[in-house]
Each structure stands twice: as structure tokens, then as C-alpha cells.
Amino acid sequence: MFKELFARARQGHHTIPYPRSLPVLPDRLRAAPELDPARCPADCRACVETCPTAAILRDATGPILDLGRCLFCGDCAAACPANALRFTPDHRLATRSREALVLRDRQHRGDLRLEAARRRLFGRSLKLRQVSAAGCNACEADLNVLTTIGFDLGRFGIQFVASPRHADGIVVTGPVSENMKLALEKTYAAVPAPKLVIAVGACAIAGGPFAGHAEVRGGVSAAIPVPIDLFVPGCPPHPMTILDGLLGLLGRGPR
């Protein structure tokens, strides 16, 4: 008993003060990108050609980056001869719509909040069922870490639950393999309405590196015809990116 108390005293307090203040994230974190199309040399396609997942296109006005497909590997920024593209450590990336993940200069996320009816219902208590549909265990780990004392997801009234019947929505990770499609459908169907669908990670949004594989469906919306309420891009997203999205959805993020 005393040993536990001594250990407890030694370990100290570690829950981050977020959302009162923003956390300091690693300087090398590759999150919110910034594009400067004015710098793009004409006819340069270096970023387009280096991208492993075809997340960058180029038209007459400049590059178009789709964060839904992006793995945040940074190869495009390294390949750019004009420093027209860089990834900043700003973790705020989650969006309500697929379109808001596609950007030409910087991200314009708009309002993340759910409509009033569901926000009233879920705003103070949100129970989520996580479905890993061929996720590689990185997105899963960064969801799991939110429940540790470092983030303490429970203090926001958000909790991962064991049964879809106890849940208000599902959080899907992975590109949805053929072999997981049925289980995903059944889990979604078992959640009582009204419900939420949250896609976490490049795989769940657009198939990630597995887009086009015959063995996967290429993301949640390609697998089951349901509306997605929150897109959290990344490979995997930083836990803060996920937390920012969840709190934004409930209208409880930093002021």
C-alpha cells in the first residue's frame, strides 16, 4: 500500500491542460501543410511525381493537396525545388466534410460543430465504438492513448465502449478490407440512431497506401453508404489532431 502511494507521489500529475492552453508538439511533427502556389515554377511536377498516394494534383493555378489521401510523409516538401510546400506542427486538421480536406494554399476548415440536435444529445456524453477495419494499429494506438491519464478523454465525457449497442457512434480506422466489410456493416447497424460516423486516418478516409487494392474497399464511404460526420486525416493522426476533432464536433474545443 505504502509502495503504491510513494510511486504515485513520484509519478506526479501529467494530464495536459488542454483545452485551456495548446500543447507544445514536436518541432518535426508533419501536420497542417502550407502551400505557396506563387512560388511554384511553371511546369514543375516534382511534388506530384513523388507522392506515393497521388494526394497532389497540379492544374494551371498550382498544386492541389488532398489531405484525405496524404500520408504526411513529407516527400513532396523534400522534392519541391522552390520551398512552395511545407508541413507545420499545427495539429488542427480534422474537418466535417471531405471537400474541406482538399486545399490549394492552407486549410479552411469552417465550423466543426455538429448540428444543434445531435450536439444537445452528445455534447456532454459521447460513447464511441471503435472498429479497426484493417488499420495497422497506429491509428488504433493513437486513439487508445487518449484514454490514458495524459489526455484523460473521460473528463470530456467521451468514452470508448465495448458494445455498439451502448454507443452513440463508430470510429473507423483502416481501409476496410474485404474481410472486415461485413463486420463493419453489422457494427454500424447495431448502433442506435441518431448516430455518428468518424473516419480516423488516411486509410479510413480514402484507402491510404492501399487505395486501389482488390483486397480493400478503400475507406469507409467506399465500403458502406453512410454519411461521415468527422474526417481526421493523418498516417496516423497525432492524438491531439483526433482530440481537437472530437471536441470541435461537440463545440467544446479551445475558445
Binding site: K3, E4, F6, A7, R8, R10, Q11, H14, P26, D27, R28, L29, R30, T50, P52, T53, L71, C73, G74, P89, Q130, V131, S132, A133, A134, G135, C136, N137, A138, E140, A141, D142, N144, V145, T147, T148, I149, G150, F160, A162, P164, P175, S177, E178, N179, M180, K181, L182, A183, G208, P209, F210, H213, A214, E215, V216, C235, P236, H238, P239
Partner: protein
């Protein structure tokens, strides 16, 4: 141990291309089994140097492997003009050599090796599932990944059938009886974890057999890697098992470097080892916390949950990704460490490991924890050896088996980490081996960070040489990661095999659960903590 970059790394054996002896068959390889090509981890051989044996000779080599001169690290088939070529990769801890042999397989069936050599049971099941090559007399020919058969044309997608989502509905092995019942779990589990399906065949509370069906995570990476290197090759290997990004990417890059005779600068070797050991620390600490959680001992569970995150953050300080994405690249690493960053990581590590020590030693001092850990899920050394188990699970069952020690590559040739072994094979042993490894990896990291070699961190990787085979073994935090590649006449991957440690170890979990209470499953499962996607690919 600071070394200047001018020193030729080939002198101490780091340069695959500079050594005259590369690929030469070691004379010892001829004794006592049939002649196989023998070489060291992270080297390559010209295909002509690999002897073509008769199927009978290759069978004998594989069957005799566990009797003192090897373990089957990989067994796979490659389409040939006339049927298939069967390759066997045996790794021999006694002399640190990897042996490779091959045989032509003209018939669509062959006599199974599993009855005489149980550790190839899954490899043979994959041969049957992928290529329709039937190992006759195989005791248990169940699909592995529930994937459609491969086409001999690598670019052709497999045919999809509407029935593919029904893994859980197929259960070829079942115990029947009036007082026997079955409990089915998954694929969607209670926690935030990957999917798999478990069927417990129970007599009362006792589990007579655990039937594990995986394949839900199959993304087709195995099929997609052939034909590379391609722009997606690195993202594929980084996500083979997302919690083992460094381990798998390192195995891949060492393979590419062996095939292209690329020299990796010493500074990069050190940074790679730092990243690999940080990955091991984060996962071992997380596992120790989760084991505490599974027996309801909350102090260690909650401390370690936070500490695991702090260790992942050290990886993020290295390269921006908590999982080491973007760090390891062919020819070296993509990020250098300036002195201030090294200092920051070393300080963070020291503080974190101090807290880990305080959190973990509580476990061994708590009788209620030890009562649950000891004698639960026992795996005997004989079973572990027969199944060819690897990593923490094998070492906890008394097998002295660690790639870093037995088949050292990269920095592990120069800086050794003692192998951590326990004897009892139970949950306690698997937990305690993790704790020993946390301490030893911590000391290794301390040394590496204090004496980082000078020089560049990356040299451009050359083109892959055509017509060669390379094997690379890496001790990931779960155990031996094996990547094997064969290049074609153009220097592309004609075949690329990945064997995750979980591929060997899942059967160990099934056997450890026999005669255990069903309520001990979460604890046993966590003590193995195997990868689903690493197995399913």
C-alpha cells in the same frame, strides 16, 4: 566508441559489397545436412549460388533444421517457367548463418513437411492458399488470410467472390460432446484493438482448445510488394504492422542495401538502432501496463499508459512521427540529430525510464499480481522450439534466441545487448523478460546517445542488382522479422516475402491457453500481444 566516417565500415563487416566472401558458400554449410548456400544476415547471393536440390533433399533440410542446425524463417514458392520453385530460408543460431536452398516443384501437390516439422504448418497453408500447392498429409489445411488465390501474372488482381466476408462462419476444427460448449469472440473486440476471431472450445471453465481465425486485416501488401521497389514500397513496409514501423522498415532497407551493395554511414546505423530500441521500449512499457490492467492492478496500468506515450514522443522528437514514420530510408535515415536534440532525447529518456522503474517494480512486489501472473498460460521450451516461436515469447520459455545477438546486423555488430531469458514460460516470464529488455535497451540507448558517430546520415542507395536473393532479419520488439527478396533480370522484386514474428507466435498463444480458465484469455493474449495485420499482411 566514436568512429570517424573515413574508417571503412566494410572492415568491420558493415559493407555488403566490399567483402570478397559475400555469398560464398561456407564450408560448414555442408555439415550435417544437404548442401545449402550459407551467408550472413543482411547480405545477398547471386541466384546461381543457391543450389537447386531435389524436392526430397529440400524436404530433408527443412525437416532436420530444428535438430540443431536451424529454424525455418521462411518457406515460399515463386512461379517458374515449369511450375514453381520452392525456397527454404533456415536461420542457424549456432553459427550465425542463414542457409537457403531451393527445389523445383512441378506437381501441384507435394508431401507435407508439417507432420515431421510442425513449425512449417503455416508456411504450407500459405502455399496452398496462394498458389493451390497442396501439402499432402497436412494435418490442418485451413486458410490463413481468407484471400483469393494469386494469379501467376503479378499484375492481375485476384477474383473477388461475394462470400469473402464470412471468416467467422468457417470453423473447420471443433470439439463436440454433450458437455462441451463453444464461446465465439470477435472480429470486433471490446477494446480499441485490431480484429480477429477466436473460438474457445470449453469444458466447463477450462479451455480445451482455442481456434484462432485471422485474415480480417488482409490488405494485400504481400502481393503488392512484388514488382517493386515502387513509390508505395516504403508506405507498405511502414504499415505492415504499424506498431513495428521501425522494425519492418529497417528489415526492408537492410534488404535493399544488401541487394544494391549500398554502404550505410555509421551515424545512420546508430540512429536506426536508437529508433528500434525506442520502439521496443515504448511497446514493452505499454504491454507491462496493459498486463497490470488485465489483472486489475491500476497503479502500474495508468502509470505505464502515460509512460508509453512519453516514449513514443521521443520517437516523434527524432523524426516527427510517434511511430517512426519517415525515419528509416534505403541508404540511411532521413533525419539527423543535432547535439541539442540528442541531449533533449537523452534527458527525456532518463526521466521516463526512472518513472518506468518505479511503476514496473510495483508489479513484482504485489502478491495479488504475482498470483495471477505465475503459472498462467505456460508454454514449455519443447513446444516453443517445435513451433519455431520467436521473440519475447520464445525467450520467456527458456530459448536463448535474439536476432540482435545471433544474427547481428548494423549497429548490433559493434554494440551488443545481452539476451534476456526466463525459464518458466508463463505470463510472469513474458512480463519479466520485457522488464529485463527495457532495462538493457535503456542502457544501450544511453551509450548510443552519448557516443553518436560523426558523419553523414544517408548515402544514396544504388540500383538493385539483378538476379539475386537477400535475407534480412531484425529483432523487432515482438521478435524476429524476416524479409526475403529475389530480384529479376531488371533488378525489380520478382518475389518479396515478409514474415512477421506474429506469424510464428499465434499458434503459441493457442497452445498456451489449453487447460487454462477462459477468464485467463485476456491476460494470456496481452502477454503475447501479437500483431493481427503483421500476420494478415
Amino acid at each position: 566508441m566514436t568512429r570517424s566516417d573515413e574508417q571503412d565500415p566494410g572492415r568491420d563487416g558493415n559493407d555488403p559489397g566490399a567483402l570478397g566472401g559475400e555469398g560464398r558458400v561456407d564450408p560448414r554449410a555442408h555439415e550435417p545436412g544437404p548442401a545449402l548456400a550459407a551467408f550472413r544476415n543482411g547480405r545477398s547471393l547471386a541466384l546461381e549460388e543457391i543450389p537447386v536440390l531435389s524436392l526430397e533433399e529440400l524436404r530433408n533440410a527443412v525437416i532436420q533444421a530444428p535438430n540443431g542446425h536451424g529454424r525455418v524463417s521462411a518457406l515460399f514458392a515463386v512461379p517458374a517457367a515449369d511450375g514453381f520453385t520452392l525456397y527454404a530460408v533456415l536461420s542457424c543460431e549456432a553459427d550465425g548463418l542463414i542457409r537457403v536452398g531451393r527445389a523445383a516443384l512441378a506437381e501441384p501437390s507435394f508431401p507435407s513437411m508439417t507432420p515431421e516439422c510442425p513449425q512449417v504448418h503455416l508456411f504450407e497453408r500459405v502455399l496452398a492458399e496462394r498458389w493451390g500447392l497442396v501439402p499432402e498429409q497436412h494435418p490442418w489445411l485451413k486458410p490463413v488470410r481468407f484471400a483469393p488465390p494469386w494469379s501467376r501474372e503479378p499484375d492481375l488482381d485476384p477474383p473477388l467472390s461475394a462470400e469473402r466476408s464470412a471468416i467467422a462462419l468457417e470453423h473447420p476444427y471443433r470439439i463436440d460432446g454433450s458437455s462441451v460448449h463453444e464461446v465465439a469472440v470477435g472480429p470486433v473486440h471490446a477494446g480499441v484493438i485490431e480484429p480477429g476471431h477466436f473460438r474457445f472450445q470449453c469444458h466447463g471453465e477450462l479451455v480445451m482448445h482455442l481456434e484462432i481465425s485471422l485474415g480480417y486485416q488482409h490488405r494485400g501488401i504481400d502481393r503488392a510488394l512484388a514488382g517493386g521497389p515502387a513509390p508505395r514500397t516504403i508506405p507498405y513496409v511502414e504499415t505492415l504492422a504499424g506498431d513495428t514501423t521501425i522494425g519492418h522498415t529497417l528489415a526492408h532497407c537492410e534488404l535493399v542495401e544488401a541487394l544494391s551493395a549500398t554502404r550505410v554511414p555509421p551515424r545512420a546505423l546508430s540512429i536506426r538502432a536508437i529508433a528500434l530500441e525506442l520502439e521496443r521500449l515504448a511497446n514493452h512499457v505499454g504491454d507491462l501496463g496493459a498486463l497490470a490492467g488485465d489483472v486489475g492492478y491500476l497503479p502500474t496500468a495508468s502509470f505505464c499508459g502515460r509512460l508509453r506515450g512519453d516514449l513514443l514522443n521521443l520517437s516523434a522528437a527524432l523524426c516527427g512521427s510517434r511511430f517512426g514514420r519517415g525515419l528509416v530510408r534505403p541508404g540511411g535515415v532521413a533525419f539527423d540529430l543535432e547535439p541539442e536534440r540528442v541531449e533533449r532525447i537523452a534527458k527525456g529518456l532518463e526521466a521516463t525510464l526512472g518513472d518506468v522503474g518505479s511503476a514496473v517494480t510495483l508489479l513484482w512486489e504485489s502478491p495479488s499480481v504475482m498470483e495471477r501472473f505465475e503459472n498462467t498460460g505456460v508454454l514449455t521450451p519443447d513446444t516453443a522450439d517445435a513451433l519455431g516461436l520467436v521473440g519475447v515469447v520464445a525467450r520467456a520459455a527458456g530459448l536463448d534466441r535474439d536476432v540482435r545477438h545471433d544474427f547481428p546486423a548494423g549497429m548490433y555488430r559493434l554494440a551488443q545487448i545481452p539476451t534476456s531469458v526466463a525459464r518458466t514460460g508463463d505470463v510472469f516470464a513474458r512480463a519479466y523478460v520485457r522488464w529485463l529488455e527495457v532495462q538493457r535497451s535503456g542502457r544501450f540507448l544511453h551509450e548510443q546517445l552519448r557516443a553518436l558517430p560523426a558523419g553523414p546520415v544517408r548515402r544514396p542507395a544504388a540500383e538493385l542488382r539483378p538476379g539475386r536473393l537477400a535475407v534480412s532479419l531484425v529483432e523487432g520488439w515482438r521478435g524476429e522479422i524476416c524479409h526475403v527478396a529475389i530480384t529479376d533480370a531488371q533488378g525489380r522484386f520478382a518475389a518479396y516475402e515478409v514474415v512477421d514474428p506474429s506469424f510464428h507466435n499465434w499458434t503459441g498463444l493457442a497452445l498456451a491457453l489449453r487447460d487454462q480458465a477462459i477468464s485467463d484469455f485476456p491476460l494470456c493474449n496481452k502477454s503475447f500481444n501479437l500483431s493481427y495485420c503483421g500476420h494478415d499482411l
